[in-house]
């Protein structure tokens, strides 16, 4: 009989009473053809083991008497063999006592492509063959996972804040009615737009192959961010004697055209690079002109989160463009198509425009309003300038960037 490379002792355990719990993992540790010796004093195992081996396609090599026990020899069969390398001896580095997703990704990097038949198996697991194909459509690294996605996820986890307790809600003081109404209108607008940033990424998460799980994890932090923003914006609108304002048809049409997107890269580009990018300037404007510290604080916090989303979108688009230059045309086309859909939508929604003006004017005195109006015009200019900068950073030419920025929705998002 051949020599065994592993020996296990199952004592009197019957096949269905614990023996398999020792035998199966021991066989799994062997290469195909590797031989295991099983010491057993269970008489029924003499008949049970050959049948079990037949069912599982292991090779039962025989049995010999050793003192009071049987020594069964089994060669590991090749059926049902999990695919992939065995993970062994991994120890993630501790960083100030913390384990970071970025180190996980560095240890088990993203493969260029992923197989839909590995289903929901975590990256690194060995996968038994024969599973069904899952309906993932984002199966290519360069279309879904920018290299710094795990760092962004780590940052997002560390930067979470609490909409109940982190805002000094008690410090909000009564405001003149026109100013409070303007705040309510702006909060309505912000919440509505953030809803689109909640809905659009969520529809892609289930399409992403789990081999790129960090992307789903990052997007989940984005969903939590958007939820918190919606929460604080709606609370602010109702915290101080005001209430919600109007949802404009322009905003609705603009966000509808975002939600209809079916391509992940186009969505990252239109939502995160152009939309959320433009929102950074809007949030900064509201922060600069906020009538009280809690309002300034909550938009400041939202802006910090949005900066991360913009970073993800930029990183995604830059990486995708670098690996597939044909994407320039497609993204430009997506912007043009959306602009064509929105060509009747008009300018910045009137209620938003007026509220931004009143906010910057800090009231309704004519002199203040004149200043507010100038500030608003300046905001549109700043938004355009910064969009162009972001587009150039993403990899577009200055001319392309000018054109794309001009075509961007008057709704900001």
């Amino acid at each position: 009989m051949p020599n065994a490379s592993i020996a296990i002792n199952a004592g009197p355990l019957p096949l269905g009473g614990g023996l398999l719990a020792l035998l199966r993992p021991a066989l799994d540790a062997l290469e195909v053809g590797g031989v295991l010796a099983l010491l057993s004093s269970n008489a029924a195992a003499r008949d049970d083991l050959p049948t079990w081996c037949k069912v599982e396609k292991h090779e039962y090599l025989g049995c010999e008497k050793v003192a009071d026990a049987d020594r069964h020899l089994i060669a590991r069969g090749g059926f049902n063999l999990p695919r992939g390398e065995r993970e062994h001896g991994l120890r993630l580095p501790l960083r100030d006592g913390k384990l970071m997703a970025a180190d996980v990704l560095a240890t088990i990097p993203h493969a260029a492509t992923a197989d839909p038949a590995t289903g929901l198996a975590p990256r690194g697991a060995r996968v038994e063959p024969g599973g069904p194909e899952y309906p993932f459509t984002l199966n290519e690294r360069d279309r879904v996972a920018p290299p710094d996605v795990a760092q962004l996820y780590d940052q997002a986890v560390a930067a979470q804040w609490n909409a109940q307790t982190d805002i000094a809600w008690a410090k909000i003081k009564p405001l003149p009615r026109a100013l409070e109404t303007a705040v309510g209108q702006l909060m309505t607008f912000l919440a509505e737009n953030e809803l689109s940033a909640l809905y659009l990424p969520s529809k892609f998460i289930a399409r992403i192959h789990p081999a790129y799980v960090e992307v789903g994890m990052f997007l989940s932090t984005q969903l939590m961010d958007e939820s918190r923003h919606i929460d604080v914006f709606l609370k602010r609108a109702r915290a101080n004697g005001g209430g919600l304002g109007v949802s404009s048809a322009t905003t609705s049409a603009s966000l509808h055209s975002l939600l209809m997107l079916e391509d992940f890269t186009e969505a990252a580009f239109l939502l995160s690079v152009l939309g959320e990018g433009t929102f950074l300037d809007l949030l900064r404007f509201i922060e600069d002109h906020a009538p009280d510290e809690p309002t300034a604080d909550l938009v400041r916090r939202a802006r910090a989160d949005e900066t991360r989303h913009v970073h993800f979108g930029m990183s995604h688009v830059r990486h995708a463009l670098a690996t597939d230059p044909s994407l320039y045309g497609r993204l430009e086309n997506a912007v043009r198509k959306r602009a064509a859909t929105l060509h009747n939508a008009g300018g910045v929604p009137a209620a938003v425009q007026d509220s931004l003006t009143v906010l910057a004017a800090r009231g309704t005195g004519p002199a203040g309003i004149a200043r507010g109006h100038d500030k608003f015009a300046e905001l549109l200019h700043v938004m355009h300038e910064n969009r162009v900068k972001r587009l150039i950073t993403a990899g577009f030419t200055p001319e392309q960037s000018q054109t794309l920025s001009d075509l961007h929705t008057p709704n900001f998002m």
Partner: protein, 269 residues
């Protein structure tokens, strides 16, 4: 023009039989072998239909197979079997508290047995026990004649035997080796209560049968497409798992000798 489509008969012992044969039919088509199937509710009707030439191939239990062999005086064609059909065995399972130390101790005890047309749960274990010297006239048989006509395919009577043993309604019981091991591997056997006491010699199980008049083209086409199924192919694997095999094997006849002898002895032709 004769119909080139191979018409296969199978018994609908379970709802999964439909997806199994639809899947295998699709696989045959991919192999450019035209095949269709019809389902019978029992093996007796399937045997008669094959003999009458209504179907080309019958997917038969061992009992149906040896009946075809006998009725065609050994001239029928055997086309293939599952890996799991070879060296099938039956078990005598006993309650540990029944005090059974040797096979003769069965006399005076209650022995749970499966359906009378189940090769593994009744016909062969009783045949082999008799050959071992057990006086079956002195053994009280608790019979579970469930799903008659299905020749034990459903396994229901074997699970009934296990249940009777578990509940103490019998001190010993007979069932197929496969159910015993699979139920153990799934963690469903109370090994503190039950033990496998004895195992029968090996015998073979199901077979694809055809009449000697089957055209060579159909016989070869059938075998070509059947043996092209591979467990590593996920589409095939789904079907093979459902049908309970990992590999189709060529036929062999020697594994049915004990069943033929048992049927002679039990006069159960």
């Amino acid at each position: 023009m004769p119909d080139e489509t191979i018409l296969l008969g199978a018994v609908a012992y379970d709802a999964k039989v439909v997806p199994i044969w639809e899947g295998i039919r699709d696989h045959f088509r991919e192999q450019n072998v035209a095949m269709d199937f019809c389902l019978f509710s029992n093996y007796e009707r399937q045997v008669e239909s094959l003999l009458a030439g209504h179907i080309d191939v019958a997917w038969n239990t061992p009992l149906a197979h040896v009946r075809i062999r006998k009725r065609t005086e050994g001239t029928s064609l055997s086309l293939g079997m599952r890996d799991s059909d070879r060296d099938f065995k039956a078990r005598l399972i006993v309650r540990k508290d029944a005090g059974i130390k040797k096979l003769k101790d069965l006399e005076g005890k209650i022995l749970a047995v499966g359906s009378r047309d189940s090769t593994q749960a009744r016909i062969l274990p009783l045949h082999f026990l008799k050959k071992e010297g057990v006086d079956l006239g002195r053994v009280k048989q608790l019979a579970f004649d469930t799903d008659l006509g299905k020749h034990g395919d459903t396994g229901t009577s074997e699970l009934d035997v296990l249940k009777a043993l578990n509940e103490g309604k019998a001190q010993a019981g007979t069932l197929g080796d496969l159910i015993w091991v699979l139920e153990q591997a799934a963690g469903r056997i109370d090994t503190k209560k039950l033990d496998s006491f004895w195992t029968t010699p090996g015998f073979d199980h199901c077979m694809f049968d055809a009449l000697p008049t089957l055209s060579n083209a159909k016989a070869e086409g059938f075998k070509k497409a059947l043996f092209a199924m591979k467990y590593d192919n996920p589409k095939h694997r789904r079907l093979l798992d459902l049908e309970g095999l990992k590999q189709w094997m060529p036929p062999r006849e020697e594994g049915y000798a004990s069943l033929t002898a048992a049927l002679d002895d039990q006069k159960y032709w």
